[in-house]
Subunit: 340 residues, 2 copies
């Protein structure tokens, strides 16, 4: 081999290598096989998730689902972030009552406000659904959507969890963040379907979960379009519009998405109908419940809990083929802030 042909070969090999690298990059055929769920311990829950995603994305396979139909719905409280010892939005409402109290002298003698101001949670609960609804309306209505979003966003940027001394938006579950990202990387459209207020969630779900406002479904109060000083605003009215909980979840899903999910993720009996609806689908489907079994790192609760009660759904899970996550066993890390 003379010197020139050797050089020619070098050029040739060099180009071959460049081509290979470029094609690898362009087609996304990354040779490294990294674990998409590093905060999940190996076990039946992780395996079931990975297998399901593999099945529905395998083109030509018997369980293939076209990307447009890969809808996954997630409950929020207790499924994506911590709901103990009280729903975050309830803490927000209580704080709002205290903040607004100077403008409402009548609250000193009217329940449930009197109990809220006296830090008497038993008294608050004793006011029943009617009292709680009254508190909700007093703290969530009477301003524009924009104003409410600013109020709740500011509150979330300041308020900390009593036990963990962290912002509530830091108390999101790292394994679930990875699951959301894993599904999206496999062309799933991920939705939040929560009993919580839709506008309470929307200002931060994109940043925290990667879920944009238009993929958030929740409970709502009515709105009215009106002109204030010639400027159009959407005013929040003190009237329930929709309760996105229990049998409201499949209704909310149909209303907003217009098709049935193929995967649903929850943690309480409030998610029972969402999982039932999703897994009654004739095609491939997946249902998962997060079971809070970890009193040390988070909380342990199920059948007797006032918040996030998990009873009927836990009984039904084995019959329906739903995956149950044992938080203590299945999660290497719990919260996003624990990520190494």
């Amino acid at each position: 081999m003379n010197r020139l042909s050797s050089k020619r070969l070098t050029v040739y090999y060099f180009h071959c290598i460049l081509w290979f690298l470029f094609l690898s990059f362009a087609t996304g055929a990354n040779a490294r096989s990294t674990d998409p769920l590093p905060s999940w311990n190996n076990g039946p829950a992780k395996s079931a998730i990975v297998q399901f995603v593999k099945d529905v994305t395998k083109e030509g396979g018997p369980d293939f689902v076209p990307p447009a139909e890969r809808i996954a719905t997630f409950d929020n409280d207790g499924t994506l972030w911590c709901e103990q010892p009280m729903y975050v939005q309830e803490v927000f409402a209580l704080d709002r009552v205290k903040g607004q109290a100077p403008d409402h002298p009548e609250w000193k003698s009217a329940e449930p406000f009197k109990s809220v101001l006296g830090n008497d949670m038993k008294g608050v609960m004793a006011s029943g659904e009617k009292g709680l609804a009254e508190m909700l309306m007093a703290t969530h209505a009477g301003m524009s959507v924009e104003e409410f979003n600013q109020i709740s966003k500011y509150w979330l940027s300041q308020s900390k969890h009593p036990r963990f001394d962290r912002l509530y938006t830091e108390l999101v579950y790292q394994p679930m963040l990875e699951l959301l990202a894993f599904l999206r990387a496999n062309d799933f459209k991920t939705y939040i379907v929560s009993g919580g207020g839709i506008e309470f969630m929307r200002p931060w779900t994109e940043k925290v979960y990667g879920v944009p406002p238009e993929q958030v479904i929740g409970s709502s109060i009515k709105m009215k379009y009106e002109l204030v000083d010639g400027k159009p605003v959407l005013m929040r009215l003190p009237e329930i519009d929709f309760i996105d909980d229990k049998d409201g979840k499949p209704v909310g899903i149909q209303k907003f998405i217009g098709r049935r999910p193929i995967a649903a993720f929850g943690n309480s009996d409030g998610d029972y109908q969402m999982l039932q609806w999703t897994t009654a689908n004739n095609g491939p489907h997946f249902g998962l419940l997060v079971h809070h079994t970890d009193a040390e790192r988070e909380y342990a609760y199920d059948r007797d809990s006032a918040v996030g009660r998990l009873d009927k759904a836990l009984d039904e899970a084995p019959k329906k083929g739903w995956t149950v996550v044992d938080m203590k066993k299945d999660w290497k890390h719990v919260f996003a802030f624990e990520k190494p």
Copy 2:
């Protein structure tokens, strides 16, 4: 230059050309500059659309809008498909009454059904809002969502427009299809925001407009989740849930999307508030009205029309900077089936 170095140069140039082609392909830098709106005649309407899209997509430009915020909302009746001489969904309701009549002997003597069965449209209209609502409930409720979707989809696959003798889904406006595609190609998310029934549209909007069910907003009746023979279904109830028209449109937009559009497209006073809301946005925004001026190829109507009345919005358009499409002048083709 000896023979070998000449060969080496050939190899070199060959690789350069391959690289160029590959990079062009991979980055989508297609050199051909084809007209994205071929069914639009050159003129102020087309220029305004193209300029707006250019402005909001120019990275680093003063009017740049991040892709996630590029929300565009389209009315349906009269904006995307023909609404004359009667809203398509009204024709559907009338046909449904006739089809269901054998099961409802009482309709022979009860309005508005009696008039419908006697083809007396004046009588139908005379029954007023109450009569029309009654007809809507009798024809649109009492079945599951799935059953209703099958019924309406079948009807649309069979029923033809009285003048054009075409399926209604063929009477969609070719220039608007191009506009939808042009916006999507520029990372807009395109929504339908219609006064029509949400479930009447969803079964076909993806195929006809490229708009998936989760991007369709419309009027709705209530639903109930229940088990029928152990199988979960969503039943349609004879009760109005939401009217997505006039000042209901900004409300529907906030409810479903949770952010303000930057572009809105309509054709009647029913779209006035949607355009007002969209173009009151401080950032870049675009409002457009389709003015039906073409009696020969389609219909000519505005201020005095019972269907798709365009009066206040037409007066306001110049003050608000809304683009008004003169169908006769601005559109080279009207319907999708006319496309050469």
